[in-house]
């Protein structure tokens, strides 16, 4: 996912000279291809996330499209006020790229786990949020992100050979979910790398599956109408159950007399007392394939 982003970014940067990349001292090796090809458009601001977003806002005010690259929570929580007050409020072309959604860096501990980032950003008016599930969606949204005016956030994970799409995604309409499997009774929704697991679960159960390459803004009316055809909607996300996609779906149905039952699978409202690999942590919070198969039922 991460490498697909960098590849597509480089292709787009060849066509658009206004694209610049700022990093908060992270991306060793990963960003080298960009730096090698565009040394004048690459800049390491150092370990200074507030400056990262402020400086990007200023550069965007001067006509640039600025990628702000960092990992985990750093480009979101450390500089949240800069995102809100500077980048978003001035509708600047600041493109935040976070590597390490969920438990990508599980062993590194709580400080590096991006497990509330969506909840926080979803509450900010006007920001656009991209949440690709595999390398194909990562390429797709990298392009959307750079064509979208305003402040955007892209949540990525490390490279993973597993995909939910066999081929590049064509004909995607911004704000939609992508139907990956047809099925009856239950629809499983997911975003991010955990989608691979969610899709396997859906396939084994004979459920429908949808990935959500974006969380904001969503075409809520279309999505609600589509999901209303199911008895149950199961949301699987590597993020707090409070304030993520599950909460968005619940809000979509709020006030409606008849709607599918919504089941939310995500992180509980407490920090894990242990650390571990991404697979280990997913299992720990009930997001492994086996635990999901059991918990979702039929």
């Amino acid at each position: 996912m991460r490498d697909a982003f960098v590849e597509r970014l480089i292709e787009l940067a060849r066509e658009d000279e206004s694209i610049e990349l700022l990093t908060g001292d992270l991306g060793f090796g990963v960003l080298r291809p960009f730096k090698n090809e565009f040394p004048d458009r690459f800049h390491n601001v150092g370990i200074a996330e507030q400056l990262l977003i402020e400086m990007a806002t200023g550069m965007a005010m001067a006509g640039k499209k600025v990628i702000c690259y960092s990992i985990g929570n750093f480009p979101v929580l450390r500089c949240l006020e800069q995102i809100r007050n500077d980048a978003v409020y001035s509708d600047s072309n600041v493109k935040i790229v976070e590597i390490g959604g969920g438990y990508t860096y599980g062993q590194l501990g709580m400080s590096h786990n991006a497990t509330e980032d969506m909840a926080v950003l979803l509450s900010i008016p006007g920001i656009t949020i991209y949440t690709p599930s595999d390398k194909h969606e990562a390429k797709l949204v990298t392009e959307l992100m750079l064509k979208q005016q305003g402040t955007t956030m892209l949540r990525l994970e490390r490279p993973d050979s597993r995909t939910i799409h066999d081929d590049p995604v064509l004909g995607y309409k911004s704000g939609d979910m992508i139907k990956g499997l047809s099925g009856k009774g239950t629809a499983v929704l997911s975003y991010g790398g955990i989608s691979v697991i969610a899709k396997e679960v859906a396939r084994e159960k004979g459920f429908a599956f949808y990935s959500s390459p974006m969380l904001k803004p969503l075409n809520e009316q279309t999505i609600a109408a589509e999901l209303s055809g199911y008895d149950r909607v199961v949301v699987v996300e590597e993020h707090s159950k409070r304030g993520g996609l599950g909460s968005i779906i619940e809000s979509m149905f709020a006030g409606k007399v008849k709607h599918p039952i919504v089941l939310k699978f995500g992180l509980p409202d407490e920090y894990a007392p242990v650390i571990g690999s991404q697979d280990y942590m997913r299992d720990y919070v009930g997001l492994s394939k086996d635990k999901l198969l059991e918990a979702i039922g039929d």
Partner: protein
Amino acid sequence: MQNSPYTSEELAWLIRRDCIEMTHKSHASHIGSDLSCADMLAVLYNEVLRIDSNNPDWSDRDYFLMGKGHASAALYSCLANVGFYSRARLETFYQDGSCMSGHVTKHGNPGIELSTGSLGHALGVGVGLAYAFQKDKRPNRVFVLMGDGECQEGSVYEAMSEAARDGLSNLVVLVDRNFQQGLGDSGDIMPSNAIEKRFLAFSWETHVIKGHDFRALRNSMSLEHKKPLCIVCDTIKGYPISFMMNQMLWHYRFPHEGNEYEGARRELLAYKPEELKNPYAEEDANL
């Protein structure tokens, strides 16, 4: 160069008189902060910035960012008097449904580049602007006005470091050092001379001047500089109103009806440049 029909001394007087009116009518805070930076704003906008009030988005313009966004009345007045919008708009300050918030906002207010209010953001944004202009060899310059209390924010130091590293000779910081902040003397929280020492330590060209001295203001702002330039302007909070000067109370208090409102206007009248026509002549006639 003169961007307004006034001398800078006249512009500064108008800013002060407007601020007394605006804060009095709206019961808004921060008159002390408005008054301390009025002279700095007047010289900057009248004589230094390359701007066109008829074309606020002119691509070659200089950018001004108001770090201490709570002194919004002073900036709104300055922009009105320089011609970005009518003076009548100032009557909407702090009012329901208005664009003129108690902290600087760009939305709906021509000439304002960045919305501020939370301290310590403007310098970093200014660094980004200056970095992009330098990179693209554009003529635009960037000026950032910060309060001395604002210099306690950590983000200021991230930006100071970056500016020096990039050698941003198109960036100027003006510090309104009025020696007071929300809850006390800024010198009790951070030694007053720490500001110039820190800018010097970060390899900025740094000068300390008297912030109500027009000659010092114009000379320092027109200095040639190869590094980013910091001008620490020693000012007096509430200047020149006797009962407001250096009084913490006037960080928050608005000039109340009676002695405060009348007294402030009466004292200010004594400073009015002779040639300047007082737009409040009628109201001030009976003082």
